[in-house]
């Protein structure tokens, strides 16, 4: 039982790490109806930029600020150069455009900072913190959970309480209508991409501390995808709950199913689980039901 609990809790904490990336997806989807596949590459770019600044001898805070500036600029640039011209394009066109974007961001990040592997130490110990006997939790995971909580609260307030938040929700609902009532589309999209860049930096630093800052960071997006879908695309709460669920299911599945039918199934378990949930709730746990009026 204690082992089960250990597996379960560590899964929940792992899941929150995916939520951090999934929140980036949610942000952009919520505001522009685009599934931004490039979020993973943005995580990589943010982490790589931060580490490179840091390794140049700049202080921790200075590096964070500089990276923030870079990510915000990147967000604005993305909107200017690409997204602005794709308003009203079909879902799949937009999706593929972001896959193209991922290629650009990956290329750019490696072009500027090189493909070497960097270590990143945030100064938070990532070893076992015994809580009860052999039941352990890592300090780092608790810290990450705290960050996620802060992030979610901040974003929820931003979306529901500010004018910009309302704009963003209106654009997500119907870009043409938003345009027709004069919502400053380009500025809003730039804001949201910049915000996604900031979220990418947070995710990039935490993931970078965990895996090392290297190319594989961009792959984390694939694990965040089922979280995003399970949560229902537009809900930040959904992304958190989805992350917790996926993390737990993945851990339990690997241990209790993996030991029977063969290890290494954590790549498909999250997707299979998300699929199961979708069969019951076709628009995710917290997804808005699409209103179809004919």
């Amino acid at each position: 039982m204690e082992f089960f609990l250990q597996v379960f809790v560590s899964g929940l904490l792992t899941g929150l790490m995916y939520s951090l990336v999934a929140i980036g997806f949610v942000l952009i989807y919520k505001a522009s109806g685009v599934f931004n596949f490039a979020q993973g590459s943005m995580v990589l770019a943010a982490a790589l930029t931060f580490v490179s600044f840091h390794e140049m001898g700049l202080g921790f805070a200075v590096s964070i600020v500089l990276t923030l500036v870079v990510m915000v600029l990147l967000g604005i640039l993305v909107e200017r150069v690409a997204l602005r011209h794709l308003v009203n394009a079909s879902l799949i066109t937009l999706f593929m455009a972001t896959v193209g974007l991922a290629s650009i961001v990956e290329g750019l990040a490696q072009f500027v900072w090189g493909g070497e592997v960097h270590g990143l130490d945030l100064g938070i110990p990532d070893d076992a913190l015994a809580i009860m006997g052999s039941f352990t939790v890592s300090t780092f995971d608790l810290f990450a959970a705290g960050i996620a909580a802060v992030l979610v609260t901040g974003l929820a307030l931003f979306f529901n309480k500010t004018r910009t938040g309302l704009y963003l929700r209106s654009i997500a609902d119907s870009p043409v209508a938003a345009l027709s009532v004069g919502v400053p589309m380009s500025r809003m999209l730039a804001v949201v991409w910049a915000t996604a860049g900031i979220v990418a930096l947070v995710a990039g630093m935490l993931w970078g501390a965990r895996l090392g800052v290297q190319f594989t960071l961009s792959v984390v997006a694939l694990k965040a995808l089922p979280v995003f879908v399970l949560g229902g695309f537009t809900s930040i709460t959904g992304a958190i709950i989805g992350g917790l669920l996926i993390g737990a299911v993945q851990n339990l599945g690997e241990i209790y199913i993996g030991s029977i039918i063969g290890w290494g199934l954590q790549n498909w378990i999250p997707y299979a689980f998300a699929l199961l949930v979708l069969l019951i709730r076709p628009s995710g746990l917290f997804g808005e039901k699409t209103v179809v009026r004919v």
């Binding site: 009203n88 609902d173 870009p175 043409v176 209508a177 027709s180 004069g182 919502v183």
Partner: protein, 278 residues
């Protein structure tokens, strides 16, 4: 409503614009029209005549549909707005209500109304007042203000769309096909409100409409579009009285129902008419 002896100044002037989609499809072939200060102008015509394209060209929504204005220019309150962004148009007092009632389905009715108010940068203390102003015209919206707009009825959605446009305090509203898919009674109700707004708030309207009879009843002026060209325009009363308009758009002929042959000849005549004009 414009009084008969009042001097008419042009609020919006569209000068000979040509609209091309996808750089090969010519949808509007040289349309000119004028909306006078505090006037209601009806843009009439059949499906595909180019009404919506004209409106979208004015409000610049056309750019999202791969269309562009290749010729002509548009002035609003004396300024050239041919290449203005929708954002600046709305702030300048020109707003469009899209065909098919594009509300924000997942926002509440009230949130729908709030979006343009924010565009106009209404102070927080004023917002409530502004909302009440709209609710006064659309009491039904007040009842439903916390429900998701996507779940309201067609008529209510049209009201949300018009009310939302009104929140921007516009000088001119481009109203695209307000009657679409609505019961005749609701259509009348909507047009009543339009007239009311025009009188009380001095808002001008450019209404694209297939329902010619209703539109002409409420409008001051009318233009009839066919295949991307204006084939006839003038005073609403004159248009309603015109025999050809009666025949073609109001389904009335002086001589009772038309035979098939007569209809055919009529269409031929109309085409020649259109060519003469062009």
């Amino acid at each position: 409503m414009i009084e008969a002896n009042e001097p008419v100044t042009a609020l919006l002037a569209v000068n000979n614009i040509e609209v091309v989609y996808d750089s090969v499809i010519l949808a509007v072939k040289g349309v000119s029209l004028t909306v006078p200060e505090r006037g209601i102008v009806a843009l009439l015509g059949a499906n595909g005549a180019g009404k919506s394209s004209t409106l979208k060209a004015i409000s610049r929504i056309i750019t999202t549909e791969r269309g562009e204005i290749t010729k002509g220019h548009i002035t609003f309150q004396g300024q050239d707005i041919t290449n203005e962004s929708p954002f600046h148009l709305v702030r300048g007092g020109l707003i469009q209500v899209l065909e098919g009632r594009f509300v924000f389905p997942h926002l509440t009715v009230e949130e729908n109304l709030l979006v343009p108010a924010y565009v106009r940068k209404v102070a927080r203390s004023q917002v409530r007042q502004e909302l009440e102003r709209i609710y006064a015209y659309f009491p039904r919206l007040k009842e439903r203000r916390t429900s998701q707009a996507g779940y309201t009825s067609g008529g209510e959605q049209q009201m949300v769309a018009i009310g939302r446009a009104l929140m921007a305090r516009p000088a001119l509203i481009l109203l695209d096909e307000p009657s679409m898919g609505l019961a005749p009674q609701i259509v009348e109700e909507i047009f009543e409100i339009v007239q009311d707004l025009n009188r009380k708030e001095a808002v001008s309207f450019l209404v694209a409409e297939q329902n010619t009879a209703v539109a002409l009843r409420y409008a001051d002026f009318g233009s009839i579009l066919e295949r991307g060209r204006v084939v006839m325009s003038g005073n609403a009363a004159e248009l309603s009285a015109n025999e050809e308009v009666k025949e073609a758009y109001l389904g009335m002929s002086g001589k009772g129902p038309m035979s098939f042959r007569e209809t055919k000849r009529y269409h031929l005549r109309k085409r020649q008419f259109a060519y003469r004009l062009a």
